[in-house]
Structure formats: structure tokens, C-alpha cells
Symmetry: C2
Subunit: 338 residues, 2 copies
């Protein structure tokens, strides 16, 4: 867990010319870069450079071209293209391999396929739109184009099966801390996998995995964040919100938010792998909704329980104090207040 | 869990003509069936019947054809074709959808693909040969043609993640009880997933799964049984054996063994789903190797432990009595005597 961050390794071994062009413009810091300098640095013809710049323009990058001076990057679009996410990303593993899609069924479907094909830990799939975004228990996740972060991260921890639910909680802490730091919005965690603002869902986490019966093969960590959605379909209007709605139309840019989130997620994931869940637990509880409150837990395959949510245990299960004083450990349920 | 067994439902809804032909011959009990009767019962031309009979002959079925009397089934090959396995199979779900392959990489790979495509619980994949048979923890399983049962079963229980390892133990009991009943051989279970005869491995179980972080999507239960192998590659000769080797060359037929195994597995699986692991535990312990003996448990991601194996807990974990009197719960490990 030491060594050069992704983008430096990328610099040495990267073969994607567009990524390299963007890095050179980033280093030029708004100044002109000559076509000759680009062509020399990248070892390709000036015609090839011109072709790549045209493609970048089509993706929303704005260049000024001045005869004899070269090109100057004026503006980059807030679309989380792989090149943009990876440029300057300060991680060891997460995002080193990043795939961007304009439209996918679901980023989870893509990351599962990559995982089966042997993709390394830290591989990330980002989409601008999901047409079949997945939520927990087969539910759907509304993911229209351009309005959110629809992302999946591949993890390959050496983890016993029963510890896997903890990774949902690790991810929840990473997202809450990142969004609070970037926006100041008072996000709270609703056990196990939702993040709420003013009682409405702004983010969901879907942790799926493939395993042998006793140890994990891989984890597909899906994250959906409503960033700039201005409204929701009527059936979601009462239960969903976006960062933009909660900030009077001010939404953070997606690309820097994704970068900061990957950095934070890696930091907490490494901490969890090295020190266990006890290093994460107090940070989770610091942002938990409903602690100390009466709740109803509707369980998938057993009786519905009512009690007071008093915390989580070392496995990540929700602890419920029952009327008769017993404490129930809830491994899987939908939670409601009251 | 009631209703008609598979093969009866198959009779009503089945569209596979070869399966229907074989059933008619089975019902004729060695007597002649006329081409006209076959053609009438199946609603197809006598030329079509003749073509199907030719195909069955190519698969190893032997027919006598006598002018004016029709056809008589003399012998069926011991190759577990789907039609053969399903004919008369007395189950509700297991094997209702059965796929046979001459050669596959691994039946687990096939069952995973079927599961992702939505195949129903109980779907079975059987191969005559695996070229990349899978064992636990990425190990391989020697699976030459014609010599064993290489099979995967798809289960879709509503199960919390931490209970999944129990299904390996349920399968172990089903296999031990079936083989003991069919051959009298004193098979024993080595926790968690191997079945031994005279200290050598004769069968392995590989339980893989796909899940959300708290509940199972599906379980791919892989079973490998060395049935008629006469010898093993040198690296396996000391640790592997077959039913045939242990019975002086007498091996049971694969097809009836698979049928009986599917029936027993379904019986125990339904019992487990309805009554929980406590209904299975004593039957597992009745056939367990090493109980009361000193063992070494080499764990995947933590320290190796030595102690006395004293049983399994309600989760299916192995209980190890340590020298200082403490009891350790082992969730994942390789076990050796001593």
C-alpha cells in the first residue's frame, strides 16, 4: 500500500494518447502548448494530435488554437471521463483502471463482467446514464444522464464471508465524509445502505459479491449519488432529493467529487483491511440516523421487529433493544422510524 | 414443496421428443413398441421417429428393430444424458432443468452463466469431462471423461449470507448418505468440503455464490465424485481414490447414482430450508472424520491453530478446543490431522 499514486504510474506506462494530451495541458496551466511540443512529447504526428484534439472537442473540451502558438485548454466539461478522473488522482489502486460509459444498463453489470474477466482490485466503472440502475433487493435506481454519480468499484479483499456487510458501512462513511467536506451538507446514514438529507434519499450503496462458501472472490461496490437532478418522477418526489435541490440549485462538479470520493474510499478501505471494523465503527456511528430512536425492522425472511436502535455490533449488524430488554442483532432488513 | 414430481410435469409440458421416446420405451419395459404407436403418441411422422432413434443409437442406446413389431430398447449407455437423468426422477425441483455436456471447462462456469440468465432453482449441469474442473480456493479438480460425476446444482434459497457455509455441509450429508446406501462404502466427511475413503479424497464439494451484502442471490453447488477412475496422475495417487478402486473394480453406474443423489439432496435441502441447520447437524456429525482428534487448521487470512476438533456450531463453523481450554470457531481453513 505504498509506492507511486496511480496517475504517476499512468504517466510512465500509460498508452492512452488523449489522457497524455490532457495531462500536458494540465501541466501547461492555461498557457499555450505548441503542436510540435505535443507531437514530440507523445511520439506521434501533428495530424494525429489534431485528430485527438478534435475528438476531445467533441467530448466538450474547449481549446483555443492560435497559429504559431499552438493550443490552449479553455474549459473541461463536467463529464467524468476516465481521463479526467485519473488526471492527478491521488490513490494507489482505486481508479487506476477506470472505464467511462455514456450509457449502460447498470455499472454493476459492467463491473461484474470485468471482475469475471480478471480485472484488478480498484477497477472503476462510471456511467453518465444508467437505463437499468440497480438498487438493493432487485429494486431500481433512477439514473438519468448528466445528473448524478453512477459508479461501481471492484474490491478483492481477503475477507471471510460474514464480514462482507461491513464494507457497505465503510463505503457509507467514505461518502458521508466526502460530501460533508465538499459541500457542508449534513448528510446522515440510514442503516444499512442509504444516505439521507432532510429525511430524503440522496445516495444509495449496493454491495454485491461473488464468493466461495467461506471466502470472498470479489466485491462489486455500487454507488449512486443524486448530484444535480432538479426534480424526480412523481413516485420518488417525496422520498428522493439531490445535492443541488438541497443547496438551492448549487451542485458540486461531479468529476472532482468522484476523485475525492475515490481517495477517501481507498483511505478508509485500507484502514479497514489493516485494522478491522473497529477503526470504522465510531466514524459510522457519528453520522448515523435513528440511534436511540424507536424503529421497525422488516426482515426479508423472518418476523418484523420493533425496538430502539442502539448501535451496530462488531460485525456491522444493527442492534435493536427490545421491549423485554433483550438485544436483537439485525443482519438484513428495511428500517422505518417508529 | 408439493405437487407432481419433475418427470410427470415434464410429461405434460415437455417438448423434447427424445426424452418422450425414452419414457415410452421405459414404460414398455423391454417389450416392442411399434413405430406407429410412437408416431401417434408423439404426434410426429415415422420418419422423424426413425431419425430420433438413429440419434439415440449414436449416443450409445441399443435398439432392436423388427419389421411389423417395431423397436425394443436393449441397453442404455451409462452416460448421464439429461434425458436419462430426468426419466423417472422423483424430485420437485432439482434436475427439472438439466443440461448435459460432453466436455466443459467446468460445470460451475456453466451454472453461473445459467444463473445470471435467470435459470430456475434446481437447474443442473452435468458433464462427462471437465478440462478445467474447479476445486476450493482456485485449485483444480481432475475430471477425465467417463470416469466421474461432474455436476453443478443451482439453488436460490432466501438465506442470510453468514449461513451459506451450511449448504456445503448439507450437500456433504446428502452425498455420504447416498453413496453409503448405494455401495455400502464407509465414506467419511472431512470438514468442510471433502469426502474420504480410507483417508483418500473420493469427492469434493465447491459452494460458490453470488449475493448482495446481506442476502443470497444464488448458490452454485459443485459436486465432483471419482466413480470409475482406475488410476490417478502421480501427484494425486497418494491423496485421491475412486469408488471403483475401493470396490475392487466394481463401480456403480453414474446415471442412477446421480438420480438418487439429486433426490436425497432435495430432501435434505428442503428439510434445511424448513427446519434450519439443527435438523442436519447430527447427521453431519454421524459421518464426520476427526471429531475428538488433534488437528491443525491453516486459515486463509489469520494464524494457524492447533487443537482438538470437538464438533461444529449452529452456523456450521468447526469448533476447536485449544490447549488453554478456550474454544475457537473456525470459519475457513484447511485441516490436517495432528
Amino acid at each position: 500500500m505504498s509506492g507511486n499514486p496511480c496517475w504517476r504510474r499512468q504517466e510512465r506506462f500509460g498508452t492512452n494518447v488523449k489522457e497524455q494530451i490532457l495531462r500536458l495541458f494540465k501541466e501547461a496551466n492555461g498557457q499555450f502548448v505548441s503542436g510540435e511540443a505535443l507531437s514530440e512529447a507523445l511520439g506521434c504526428s501533428r495530424t494525429a494530435i489534431w485528430k485527438h484534439i478534435s475528438e476531445l472537442r467533441a467530448q466538450g473540451y474547449q481549446f483555443e488554437a492560435v497559429r504559431r502558438s499552438g493550443y490552449r485548454l479553455l474549459a473541461t466539461p463536467d463529464i467524468p471521463y476516465a481521463e479526467q478522473v485519473k488526471a492527478g488522482l491521488n490513490t494507489q489502486r482505486l481508479g487506476c483502471e477506470t472505464h467511462f460509459f455514456e450509457t449502460v444498463e447498470s455499472t454493476q453489470t459492467e463491473i461484474h463482467a470485468l471482475a469475471r474477466a480478471g480485472a484488478p482490485e480498484g477497477t472503476v466503472v462510471i456511467a453518465d446514464e444508467q437505463v437499468k440502475g440497480k438498487g438493493r433487493l432487485g429494486r431500481s435506481w433512477h439514473s438519468p444522464p448528466g445528473s448524478g454519480i453512477w459508479m461501481s468499484v471492484l474490491l478483492r479483499p481477503k475477507l471471510e464471508l460474514q464480514r462482507c456487510p461491513q464494507l457497505t458501512l465503510v463505503a457509507a462513511v467514505a461518502i458521508v465524509e466526502t460530501i460533508r467536506e465538499q459541500t457542508g451538507l449534513p448528510l446522515m446514514i440510514k442503516w444499512p445502505n442509504d444516505l439521507l438529507l432532510n429525511g430524503k434519499k440522496v445516495c444509495g450503496i449496493l454491495t454485491e459479491l461473488r464468493a466461495e462458501s467461506d471466502c470472498v472472490d470479489y466485491i462489486a461496490l455500487g454507488i449512486g449519488i443524486n448530484v444535480s437532478s432538479a426534480s424526480f418522477p412523481s413516485e420518488l418526489a417525496d422520498i428522493a432529493t439531490s445535492l443541488s435541490i438541497e443547496q438551492q440549485g448549487q451542485a458540486p462538479l461531479r468529476t472532482p467529487l468522484i476523485k475525492r470520493l475515490l481517495e477517501k474510499l481507498e483511505e478508509l478501505y485500507f484502514l479497514y483491511v489493516e485494522q478491522g471494523f473497529s477503526a470504522i465503527k465510531p466514524r459510522w456511528e457519528a453520522h448515523a440516523l435513528m440511534l436511540g430512536k424507536p424503529i421497525t425492522a422488516r426482515r426479508v425472511n423472518s418476523a418484523t421487529l420493533q425496538g430502539i436502535a442502539i448501535g451496530i455490533d462488531e460485525q456491522g449488524a444493527l442492534l435493536l433493544r427490545m421491549e423485554d430488554g433483550r438485544t436483537e442483532h439485525i443482519y438484513s432488513a428495511d428500517i422505518d422510524m417508529g
